[in-house]
Symmetry: C2
Subunit: 355 residues, 2 copies
């Protein structure tokens, strides 16, 4: 009030709007409540979320936990104003990351950070998280919405997810039984999932000078539609393979950053290598388009993108037909044998050999 004097400062003037934050928390709480499963004991308002492990019915549970983000796929959301699928990307990515060790998801927490909170956008994001949690039978147990003035540009945010699942100790999948002769079964991806976006954006926007709303003839969709296709969860189609006393798969690799080249070796025992037959599946148009338009060497494509294979199962040769059948019965007709485990140094060998 006083000229050239000291005006009172409060938190709101310093850029943090506690009341707007409380309103978002109220809406988010409603969305989260709708995801509650049998184990959930607390409302979101308490300091920590409570989950009663007895509800899982496991005798000797091993908890499997993972943290992840959506990476620069977020920029597609910023450019297109479509924020409703980012939450699905994040939850499904996390679900797959613990699924590969045999775990069913129990609960999920999010961290959403912005410069200045746009309540509509925050609610869209959490709505996506909550829908994906429900689809995966996973409780949205809590989260943090942080307003950090000056950290994020206007209209931008970052979001991280944290998942905890559980698996019976005797049924943890750790790749230990993998041996030469095993088959690799690939499950189709729905697009880039959440990886390779820095390169994809460089190609689409810097090199081709496209806008997100431009149609790409090769794809039959707009750039935004193609690049925002949500990361899928493999839980529904893999769950039946894990149901028996002994899981039908020996190991699984979620194909994320680093592609097949870097992710498949993470489950290979010493003395083995993976031979992947590149002619065993059709690389989807989105990857062909990026490869061609960017002049990206095939080797870099395979080390960056999933190339149409989002999850790889390692299976005994003699159970392969049974596994592919069960996956088909669970609603996925696109499973393919894409290679095998062979004696060798750790790593992935692609056939036919790349020039």
């Amino acid at each position: 009030m006083a000229e050239c004097g000291r005006s009172a400062m409060d938190y709101k003037k310093a850029g943090v709007d506690i009341d707007a934050g409380n309103e978002v928390v109220r809406q988010i709480t409603g969305l989260a409540k709708a995801t509650a499963t049998r184990g959930v004991l607390s409302d979101l308002g308490s300091f920590g979320g409570l989950f009663h492990l007895g509800a899982s019915g496991l005798k000797d549970p091993v908890l499997v936990a993972s943290a992840d983000g959506v990476g620069t796929k977020l920029r597609l959301a910023f450019m297109s104003g479509i924020h409703g699928t980012i939450g699905m990307d994040l939850v499904n990515h996390c679900v797959n990351d613990i699924l590969v060790q045999g775990a069913e998801p129990l609960f999920f927490l999010d961290y959403l950070a912005t410069g200045r909170l746009d309540p509509d956008v925050a609610v869209q994001i959490v709505d996506g998280l909550a829908r994906a949690c429900r689809d995966n039978g996973c409780a949205l147990l809590g989260g943090e919405t942080a307003e950090m003035p000056g950290f994020y540009a206007d209209g931008e945010y970052d979001v991280a997810g944290f998942i905890v699942g559980a698996v019976e100790r005797t049924k943890v999948i750790d790749g230990r039984g993998i041996a030469a002769g095993d088959a690799l079964v690939g499950l189709p991806s729905t697009g880039l999932h959440t990886n390779g976006y820095s390169l994809a954006r460089s190609i689409a926007f810097d090199r081709l000078k496209l806008s997100v709303h431009d149609r790409v003839p090769e794809l039959g969709t707009t750039v935004a539609e193609a690049l925002l296709a949500p990361h899928r969860s493999y839980l529904p189609v893999v769950r039946p393979l894990l149901a028996g006393a002994r899981p039908l798969v020996k190991g699984m690799a979620h194909i994320t950053g680093g592609g097949i080249t870097e992710n498949l070796p993470r489950v290979l025992p010493a003395g083995t290598e993976a031979v992947v037959r590149l002619d065993a599946w059709n690389v989807p148009p989105i990857f062909q388009w990026l490869e061609r338009a960017g002049g990206v060497p095939r080797e870099d494509m395979l080390r960056t993108f999933n190339m149409g294979i989002g999850l790889i199962l390692v299976v005994s040769r003699d159970r392969t037909a049974e596994v592919v059948d069960q996956i088909r019965n669970a609603g996925e007709s696109g499973a393919n044998v894409i290679g095998s485990i062979e004696p060798g140094g750790a790593g992935v060998v692609y056939e036919p050999r790349q020039p």
Copy 2:
């Protein structure tokens, strides 16, 4: 290579350096390994971190989980180049958030996001996380280091933490037994902890035009030293109160964003209010200095900062002396009775009444 032609693009050119990332992961893996507790089953390299719940020895475990960030305290780290204590802030904040429901921490995961990864800074941050995890008997089970070109300014980052703890179902602390007549025991904070930094920075840097390295006579330290004082963990001093068949505390509030005013009501049952006596403890110099220099109304101070009280325990009047004694035996001599629970509307009443 070709002039005005299409040069090949790869992921590295698009701003993501996988090799530098792998080197950081290698160092981080070493730091995380040193935090392993009895329950940890996996190395950090697998897709998810594995924790064997049987190691906790609990009969009917309830998992308590929380997600949090450090907020704009990070800017102090950016300005001063001191990144080694941010991890302690984050872990200790999370530990306290689940401690208030009676949980011992089991494991922690981090999400660290930057524009371009500075390996030294990343390792400093994770070193702080790992040290705090060790101090709290909590495994650093995994995490995600995300390089997101263009999302964060040079030299900046954001970091989020996720914690999972466990408590015997019969010993969950939920404030249900709280009744009029109970005493409030306050435990001293070590400074601002991780809240109120947007306002504190406005006062120190925008209004007073100080630099982080300036000494503040009222504090006897530099601005950076005062504002980077790490958030403390209350686990060592509260643990003994939870050890018996029935916990010695009825409820606890971690005083974070929103101060005593917003956090204490989160544990109050309907029909009660908290009366907090402001003359029961000495408000530390850092808060007095901010209040005076910013001309901040006392009410806003109490709704923004912890004002020297980082954790409040709600205790039966007749157990108060025993609780204060046990806290003293655990090494904390600064515990004080700071008020009481009274019949009333939900909320906090400060005495003497503020003008």
